[in-house]
């Protein structure tokens, strides 16, 4: 990988304030602009915690996180929110905003406490809707969206934040195949336009479809990381998930199959 990473972790250790066991152990990784990076691992591997640390929700006990060449701790909340946008796994929205109003919330990093969004923010929100391909949803109520549309709206809000780094927590977890494909190709095109993408998933096929690099985590630790070709192998995935599976090549495309002995 050429050039400087926009996001890097150096020997990061973390445990929750009232927990005794380390949730993350000695995590080091680099994320470069214009790449999609998948964090893979079974449930409870520490994938979401990793994202929370990168957001600055919790400070690591040891190690350092650097964003845009500066330590995370040197950023203000506002400056951090102009560097990193988050697409949460699911977001419960108790009030029935219109899609455009909701995406407009992504402009918060550019507004002070008492400041209202202006015309240029509304333009940015519309631009985000167009980039995500859902300009037609602008006037819909968020309660009237399907699961796939909802996920696209969450991504549009993060895109409206206009950050160089995009974090996504299980972006395809609850989606059917068509929507999964739509989200994945969107992530691919956002990366192609220069965004550094880091997303978690417990599904290797998602990583195979779109990721440039892959990080395999288990029990708070990185087992393997590197290019998709090097990392997503039968041996390494079996070790990560501790379940029998096979990585096969079908017409040049790799697929992951679970090994069911009875079949």
């Amino acid at each position: 990988m050429s050039g400087k990473p926009i996001l890097s972790l150096h020997h990061v250790w973390f445990s929750y304030p009232n927990g005794s066991k380390d949730v993350l152990r000695d995590i080091s990784l680099e994320v470069h602009p214009g790449t999609a990076n998948a964090v893979l691992g079974p449930n409870g591997a520490g994938k979401s915690t990793l994202l929370h640390l990168i957001l600055g929700l919790y400070p690591p006990q040891r190690g350092e996180i650097r964003i845009g060449g500066r330590p995370l701790t040197a950023h203000s909340r506002q400056s951090l929110s102009r560097q990193i946008a988050l697409v949460p796994q699911r977001e419960h929205i108790p009030f029935d905003f219109r899609v455009l109003e909701y995406v407009l919330l992504g402009r918060t990093p550019y507004l002070d406490f008492l400041q209202m969004p202006g015309p240029e923010d509304i333009q940015a929100a519309r631009r985000a809707l167009e980039r995500v391909g859902i300009a037609d949803l602008a006037d819909r109520r968020v309660s009237a969206l399907s699961g796939g549309e909802h996920q696209l709206v969450l991504i549009a809000r993060a895109v409206a934040q206009e950050t160089p780094i995009l974090l996504l927590d299980e972006p395809t977890a609850h989606l059917d195949l068509a929507n999964k494909r739509r989200i994945l190709s969107l992530l691919g095109s956002l990366a192609a336009q220069g965004t550094a993408i880091l997303f978690t998933t417990h599904d290797p096929d998602t990583a195979l479809a779109v990721a440039d690099t892959c990080i395999l985590m288990r029990a708070g630790h990185i087992l393997h990381q590197g290019s998709v070709d090097d990392v997503l192998t039968t041996e390494k995935l079996t070790q990560t998930y501790e379940t029998p599976l096979h990585v096969l090549s079908v017409d040049g495309t790799r697929v992951v199959l679970l090994d069911f002995p009875s079949r």
Binding site: S81, P88, F95, T108, I122, S143
Partner: protein, 333 residues
């Protein structure tokens, strides 16, 4: 922002309706006979002029203020707590104020300003207790802890109110406590209206100016954080403003129920969920609602009907209609 045309119409309607209602309310009453007081008779009848200026005007303005404060606080708390069923009283504020008023009637004094000061002090004590308890609870997230602590503190104070009612003199003190608990503006004069004005106006100004931020704070904690907000600190500022406004008007009017719950729902229905429009709409609609209820309270019968009974009656009826006919406006996720 595409402000939909029916939203805009609804908003302008409210903007016109409120001043008209205020003007009409001042001339509507039971003196010298039930119905309208013609402006001409003001010159002829000095008593009418005095009544208008000293009794009716402060009362009408108080109704507007109570409605605006309870509705804006209700909307703010609903968004801060991400729960459309929250209302201003639920953090121990209303029950605290009720206890303060009853306590004052029994032990401190029965003049309106004394009752009012005691009610406001105990309302704020209720909030503080809720906050303090929530900080000590070892269970759930911020919202759940505040709700649980609020329920406990409210129960504590209402037990206290029950105790005071039991101890009260049934002929003099008890009716006064009961009437205060039911809520009303019959005792409003300039001298007890003006002192609550600064805190209420200040609080409402903060809520009005920060209404965009309210949208941000209605998102989940990690999302609000990732958008650059400082959810803890910002929530506290808006919470204090909402409770400040509530404590001030509750000390003036007693417990006026349902306004803070139903008006935000209706406002969102009229102008949408975005607080940039919903909060101003709640201010106007709340004012109008309480003003009309109070007009009925003071004119329908020769005796005063407690305002809280009317707001609860109409509020609960409206709520039932929304629930059964229209559905609570809340997404599925």
């Amino acid at each position: 922002m595409t402000l939909r045309s029916h939203h805009r119409t609804g908003f302008y309607l409210l903007l016109v309706a409120l001043p008209v209602a205020v003007a009409l309310s001042v001339f509507f009453g039971r003196y010298p006979r039930p119905g309208w007081l013609s402006p001409d008779s003001l010159q002829a009848d000095p008593l009418a002029a005095q009544l208008l200026w000293n009794l009716r005007l402060p009362r009408v303005m108080a109704a507007v203020l109570v409605g605006a404060a309870l509705s804006a606080s209700g909307l703010t708390l609903q968004m801060l707590f991400r729960n459309p069923l929250v209302e201003p009283g639920f953090l121990g504020v209303s029950q605290g104020a009720a206890f303060g008023a009853a306590f004052s009637i029994l032990y401190l004094g029965r003049s309106a300003p004394t009752i009012q000061a005691s009610a406001a002090a105990f309302a704020l004590l209720g909030l503080w207790l809720t906050y303090f308890l929530a900080g000590r609870l070892r269970y759930g997230g911020w919202i759940l802890r505040m709700v649980l602590a609020g329920i406990a503190v409210s129960a504590l104070f209402s037990a206290g109110v029950g105790m005071l009612k039991y101890l009260a003199d049934p002929l003099t003190q008890l009716p006064e406590i009961t009437f205060w608990l039911l809520g009303g503006l019959w005792s409003t004069r300039w001298r007890n209206f003006l002192p609550v004005l600064p805190l209420t106006i200040l609080s409402l100004t903060v809520l009005f100016l920060a209404r965009w931020r309210l949208n941000v704070l209605s998102l989940e904690e990690e999302t609000a954080f990732s958008l650059g907000a400082a959810p803890g600190r910002e929530r506290l500022v808006l919470l204090l403003a909402a409770v400040g406004a509530t404590a001030a008007v509750v000390s003036l009017a007693g417990t006026v129920g349902w306004v803070g719950l139903i008006v935000p729902h209706l406002s969102r229905r009229f102008v949408g969920a975005d607080a940039r429009r919903a909060l101003p709409a709640a201010l106007l609609l709340g004012s109008l609602f309480v003003l009309l209820c109070d007009d009925i309270a003071r004119t329908l019968s020769a005796g005063e009907i407690p305002l809280g009974i009317l707001t609860s009656l109409f509020g609960a009826a409206a709520f039932l209609v929304i629930l059964t006919r229209l559905g609570i406006q809340s997404p599925r996720h």
